[in-house]
C-alpha cells in the first residue's frame, strides 16, 4: 500500500511536468516568423498539413526545440548530481571548469576557422579534458575531499576565464559576435538533437535506481558507508556521468548558464529532496525551461536572435528568488 502510494506521490508531479514539457515544445514549434495554429500543428503531426508547414516544423523548428530540451535536461540533471556529490548548494555543472575547458577549445577552433562540426568535437574534448584535469589535481597526493574538488574546479574555471578573455581581446573583430554567442549559449547552430537526447534518456534510466543511494550520500560519506553504500564507486560514477552530461550539453548549445544551478534548487523547494523524484523532474523542467527560453530568444527581437543563456537567466532569476523568499 505504502509502496503504491509512494509511487503515486512521485508520478503525479512527473506526469504534470511531462505534460508541461510537451506543451512547451508545441508552443515552440508553432511560434516564429510564420505562426502555426493548433489545428495546423496537429495536421502536420498526424502526417498531413501544408508542405511549407511540414518543412518549417519537422526540419527546422522541431529539431531545434528537441535540442533545446535535451540541453536543458542534461544541464539540470548534471547540476542536481554535482550538488549531491559536493554536498554544496552552489555547485553547478560548470563548477569543474567544464564550460571553460569546452569554451577554450571551441574558441580556438573558431579562431582557426574550423567548420562547426570540428568546433563541437573540440568543445566535447575540452569539457572532458577539463573534468579529468580538475579531478587529477583535486586528487593530488593527498585525500580526495569535496571541498578540495570544489576549490580546484573554481580555480581552474577562473584560469579558463582568463584564457577566454585573452582570446576575445586578440581575436579578429568579425569573429567576435560568433564567439560571444557561443559563450552565452546559442541553439541556432545546434544540429541533430539525437545524440544529446539519447544521452539524456540513457543516463536518466541508469541513474534512477541510484536515487536512494544518492539520498543517503547527501548525508555525508561516512553515514552513507555505514548504511551500506559503496561510497567511492558511487562518487566516481556521479562524477563521470555529470561530466558526460555537461560535455554533451556544451557541445550542443555552447555554455548555457543558470539552468544547472537553479532548476534543481527550484524543484527541491517545491518537491522536497528525494533524488528519485528530483532527477527525472530536473530532466523535464530543465528541458522545458530551455525550450521556452529559446523560443523567446528567437522571437523577442525577431528577425534578430538573442543567446538563449540570456533568457534562461532573465526567466530563472526572479522565479528562483521568489521561491527562495517564500520557502521556510
Amino acid at each position: 500500500m505504502a509502496a503504491v502510494e509512494a509511487l503515486r506521490r512521485r508520478s503525479v508531479p512527473l506526469l504534470l511536468l511531462a505534460a508541461a514539457s510537451v506543451i512547451c515544445i508545441a508552443v515552440s514549434v508553432s511560434t516564429g516568423s510564420v505562426a502555426i495554429s493548433v489545428g495546423e500543428l496537429w495536421a502536420v503531426i498526424s502526417g498531413g498539413g501544408e508542405p511549407l508547414h511540414r518543412t518549417l516544423i519537422l526540419e527546422l523548428r522541431l529539431p531545434r526545440s528537441l535540442a533545446a530540451f535535451a540541453t536543458g535536461g542534461l544541464l539540470a540533471v548534471a547540476g542536481a548530481l554535482m550538488q549531491v556529490l559536493l554536498r554544496n548548494p552552489l555547485a553547478d555543472p560548470y563548477v569543474l571548469g567544464l564550460s571553460g575547458g569546452a569554451a577554450v577549445a571551441a574558441l580556438l577552433c573558431m579562431l582557426a576557422g574550423m567548420p562547426p562540426a570540428i568546433v563541437s568535437i573540440a568543445a566535447f574534448a575540452g569539457a572532458l579534458g577539463s573534468a579529468v584535469l580538475v579531478f587529477g589535481l583535486a586528487h593530488g597526493r593527498g585525500s580526495w575531499t569535496t571541498t578540495r574538488l570544489l576549490l580546484t574546479g573554481v580555480v581552474v574555471s577562473s584560469g579558463w576565464g582568463a584564457v577566454i578573455t585573452f582570446m576575445l581581446a586578440v581575436g579578429p573583430t568579425e569573429q567576435l559576435p560568433g564567439m560571444l554567442y557561443w559563450l552565452m549559449g546559442d541553439l541556432a547552430y545546434a544540429r541533430s538533437p539525437w545524440p544529446a537526447l539519447i544521452i539524456l534518456a540513457l543516463t536518466s534510466l541508469i541513474l534512477l535506481p541510484l536515487g536512494r543511494s544518492l539520498n543517503v550520500l547527501a548525508r555525508g560519506p561516512m553515514q552513507a558507508a555505514a548504511l551500506g553504500v559503496a561510497v567511492r564507486p558511487l562518487e566516481w560514477s556521479i562524477y563521470g556521468s555529470a561530466s558526460l552530461l555537461t560535455a554533451s550539453a556544451v557541445t550542443t548549445a555552447g555554455s548555457i548558464g543558470f539552468v544547472g544551478l537553479v532548476v534543481p534548487h527550484m524543484l527541491r523547494l517545491v518537491l522536497g529532496n528525494d533524488q528519485r523524484l528530483i532527477l527525472p523532474a530536473a530532466a523535464l523542467t530543465g528541458g522545458a525551461l530551455l525550450v521556452l527560453a529559446d523560443t523567446l530568444a528567437r522571437t523577442i527581437i525577431a528577425p534578430e536572435q538573442l543567446p538563449a543563456g540570456v533568457i534562461t537567466a532573465l526567466l530563472g532569476v526572479p522565479t528562483f528568488l521568489y521561491l527562495l523568499y517564500r520557502s521556510r
Partner: protein, 260 residues
C-alpha cells in the same frame, strides 16, 4: 545474533606508536564502554570496528568473517553506527531521515513498503520523536537530533550497535532513556559498544569496559574489575572521588594533583 571481534587490531592514528594491539570480542548481550581522554582514539576505534577506516595492522571480524570478505551492504545489515557528528545535507523531514535506516535492506528499484514505514514509526516512538515526524531536521534541537540518530539506527535493525558518545546533547532523562534503550537492545541479544565520557553512565550500564590511553596503550575487561579509581585517575589525569549510593559506585572529579 552476531559477534564483533578485534584481532591484534592496531588503529591508525597518525604519528602515534602502535600501543597495545586490541584483541577482544563483543558478544551478544554485552554492552562495552570505551573510556579515554580527548584524542585517545575512541572515535577512530569505533570507525575501525565499523569497517569505515582501515586499521594499521590486525583486522576486525564479524561472525568470524573479515570485512574484506563482506560487502558494505551485508555489514550494514549487521552493524549500525551512531556518529558523533552529522551532516544534514539537504533539508529532509524526520520521517524521511529515519527511513534511510532501511537502505541496507532495499534493492535499488525498491520503494519503502508499509512494513518499512511501521518500523520507522516504531523507532520514532521508542525515541519519543513521534510528534516531530513531519518536522524538518534543521528545525530540531541538538538533543532531538541526537535521538533522531538513535532512531535511524534502530530502524536499521542491527545486531551490533556502535555509538559514539550517544549521550551528547541529551538531558539527564533522555540520557537515561538512551542507556535503557541500549540495555533493552542488549537484553534481546544484540551487542553494543559505546564511546562514553560519563563514568557514571558507564558504571551503571556497561558490562565491559575498554580503557584507551592517549599513547595507544589499552586494557579491557569486565566492568567491575576495570573501574578502579587509580586507573581512571591515570587515564584522565584528573583526581577523582569515589562514593557509593544505594550500593552503586559513583565517580566525581576531586581537586588536587594526580601522582602518575
Amino acid at each position: 545474533m552476531s559477534t564483533l571481534s578485534a584481532r591484534q587490531l592496531v588503529i591508525d592514528i597518525p604519528e602515534r606508536g602502535d600501543g597495545t594491539p586490541l584483541d577482544f570480542s563483543i558478544q551478544p548481550g554485552q554492552i562495552w564502554g570505551v573510556l579515554g581522554p580527548n584524542g585517545a582514539g575512541k572515535t577512530t576505534l569505533l570507525h575501525t570496528l565499523a569497517g569505515l577506516k582501515s586499521p594499521r595492522s590486525g583486522f576486525v571480524e564479524l561472525n568470524d568473517l573479515g570485512f574484506a570478505q563482506l560487502r558494505r551492504k551485508q555489514i550494514a545489515r549487521e552493524i549500525a553506527v551512531v556518529f558523533q557528528e552529522r551532516q544534514d545535507g539537504f533539508p529532509a523531514t524526520v520521517l524521511e531521515t529515519v527511513l534511510i535506516g532501511r537502505h541496507p535492506y532495499m534493492a535499488p528499484w525498491d520503494v519503502e513498503t508499509a512494513e518499512d514505514l511501521a518500523l520507522a514509526r516504531d523507532a520514532l516512538k521508542r525515541t519519543a520523536l513521534s510528534a516531530l515526524e513531519d518536522r524538518l531536521v534543521s528545525t530540531l534541537s541538538g538533543g532531538e537530533r541526537q535521538r533522531l540518530a538513535l532512531a535511524t539506527a534502530l530502524c536499521q535493525q542491527p545486531t551490533i550497535w556502535l555509538a559514539d558518545e550517544p549521550g551528547n546533547h541529551l538531558d539527564l532523562r533522555h540520557q537515561v532513556q538512551a542507556m535503557n534503550l541500549f540495555a533493552s537492545e542488549a537484553e534481546s541479544g544484540r551487542a553494543v559498544l559505546l564511546c562514553l565520557h560519563d563514568l557514571n553512565l558507564a558504571a551503571r550500564w556497561c558490562t565491559h569496559i575498554l580503557l584507551l590511553y592517549p599513547d595507544g596503550r589499552a586494557c579491557w575487561g569486565e566492568s567491575n574489575k576495570m573501574l578502579e579509581r587509580s586507573a581512571l585517575e591515570t587515564l584522565y589525569q584528573q583526581p577523582l572521588a569515589e562514593t557509593t549510593v544505594d550500593g552503586r559506585r559513583y565517580f566525581v572529579p576531586a581537586t588536587g594533583a594526580v601522582n602518575d
